[in-house]
Amino acid sequence: MSSIRISRACRSYGSVQAVNDVTLDIHDGEFFTLLGPSGCGKTTLLRSIAGLERLDSGRIVVGDQDLARVPVHRRPLGMVFQNLALFPHMNVDQNVAYGLRARGVSRAESRARTADALDMVALGGLGRRQVAELSGGQQQRVALARALVTEPRVLLLDEPLSALDLQLRQQMQVELKRLQQRVGTTFVFVTHDQDEAMAMSDRIAVMNGGRVEQVGTPDELYQRPASRFVADFVGDSNLLDGVADAQNGKPTLVGAGLSACLPRSVPPGQQVTLCVRPESISVDAAAPDHDCRVRGLVTASVYRGSSVRLFVASEADFEFLVDVATAHGGVPVGSTVELSWRSRDSWAVTENVPSDDGMALH
């Protein structure tokens, strides 16, 4: 069952189309992420759901309630703000109880529910503290407890972790994900960090310039990007741009100074981008079914723990990113190597053409 349905949402500021014809279906109990670069309209869309921003056109339905005429404070939603927006003149208990009291819950009941909510975020016993007396991570949890204690149908989160340092941030990612699974509330999470999105989400909508480019599970986005933008934004990849052709009866890409097998047939003459992930490429270890091969010069090598990232320049000066297992042994910088991969491990993107036959090949 769907929790939020957004259809044909549009919002512009002057000449800027902040949200451009967005249609989304967010399921019940799902951790759903809006991912995209700065300025792509994530915040505008999220605030529109909350009612803090008005759409020029389009509909937002939560459950079976059209939100068009519902004021912010009557929407069945909670929100966690990027700067948390805790109330500095109230202590932790008062902050958390605020939404309960505003919704007319009795003093006694709200006291009990506040205590439960603080326990849930591992802040039990800190209710009497002033907000100012908490660490960044603790303040984060107060904001979560405050938003969740009223049991909203959907929780909206606008980059709530971006103010934290890396270590705390990764710890909070795990906590947030666990919390969501435990309470089962639908989360709509905004971030511009693709690692964060991949780590936490059930499904992700990748946004670009106000539009949704693709909606899918992290795996779908990574393995089968629908556009060059998604391929580029989600994970590292080698993107070979060229024109489709047929050589020896096989679909081939010609461009980037080489010709490479395409994993599916594309009408000859059409613009196509081949996406090859760094870990799909082998170095000097071509197997018989590796039907794509390129020679290149290793220009740099970066140690990354379990793998080594090689930068390999082809003869036509295309720079490949290649990840080889550290166990595979070092490849000296300056050596010439043969890169190879299976065309079925790559992915062809033809802009604006949903590639159904391509998916079938996978």
Binding site: H73, Y98, G99, R103, A132, R146
Partner: protein
């Protein structure tokens, strides 16, 4: 080193310059003689006893306190409404705010004349209502500047958070906006009170026999008498004002310190 000494010297000189008149007045108020002189002749509380026992001064004080309280209440409320209203304007906010502070630039005598015309037109000359209206108008720009500074620092996200938590506009205003604005509102009230309490030049045009304020009485007193009563009153006013200001500064500092820690992540 030399620069540092020069700097210190400059600082001390500046403070001396600012404080000297006050010291002269306070010093002169303790004279045991019957003329306003500095240095004072001897030391006594004679003139303090004199003013406390004098019906004329006590009546003036009551009038001034009433006037200051009511007009400060009015101008603070009006200034708060104006500052919050301007915050909601899409455009023209800065210009409107500037317009509201413009009366500060008009010579007091001109304001007095203008208000006299107004007050006479409504047959309020010499009445307390006329004075209150006038003082409300005079103190409004000061209150507005103080509240605006507070409004500029309001955190919009807190108000939005309140709304997403189920609080309607009224509850949000009372529970979230007003508490944040409290220091600005207190400052507005304080400054309005002080300005109204000390105002002479405009008030001179508007007082009647029953509504003589303390400063106006002081002003007319020194026109035909050279006794130090005025110095004792001034000394008391100075001390009362400073105590109020000091209290205000201490309280807001404490709040601010707490607020800053709250913002830091």
């Amino acid at each position: 080193m030399l620069l540092k000494i020069l700097g210190r010297g400059w600082l001390v000189a500046s403070f001396g310059f600012l404080l000297a008149p006050i010291l002269v007045v306070v010093g002169a108020s303790f004279t045991s003689g019957s003329l306003l002189t500095f240095p004072p002749e001897g030391f006594s509380f004679r003139w303090y006893q004199e003013i406390v026992g004098d019906e004329k001064w006590m009546a003036g004080l009551t009038t001034s306190l009433n006037l200051a309280f009511v007009s400060a209440l009015g101008s603070t409320a009006a200034a708060t409404a104006a500052a919050l209203g301007i915050r909601r304007l899409r455009r023209g906010g800065t210009a409107t705010g500037f317009l509201l502070t413009l009366p500060l630039a008009v010579p007091k005598v001109a304001v007095g004349l203008a208000l006299l015309g107004l007050v006479v037109a409504f047959a309020l000359n010499g009445t307390m209502s006329g004075l209150m209206t006038a003082h409300l108008i005079i103190t409004m720009p000061y209150a507005f500047v103080a509240v605006s500074a507070g409004v500029a620092q309001l955190d919009r996200f807190q108000e939005e958070a309140s709304r997403t938590l189920g609080a309607g506009p009224v509850r949000t205003f009372v529970m979230v906006t007003l508490p944040q604005l409290a220091p600005g509102i207190a400052a507005a009230f304080l400054f309005s009170t002080i300005v109204s309490f000390q105002e002479v030049s405009v008030t001179l045009f508007l007082v009647g026999p029953g509504t003589n304020t303390l400063p106006v009485r002081m002003f007319s007193h020194i026109l035909d008498s050279a006794d130090p009563a005025v110095a004792s009153i001034s000394a008391l006013v100075v001390i009362a004002t400073y105590v109020l200001l000091a209290l205000f500064v201490v309280v807001t500092r404490r709040r601010e310190a707490a607020g800053r820690k709250g913002v830091a992540l």
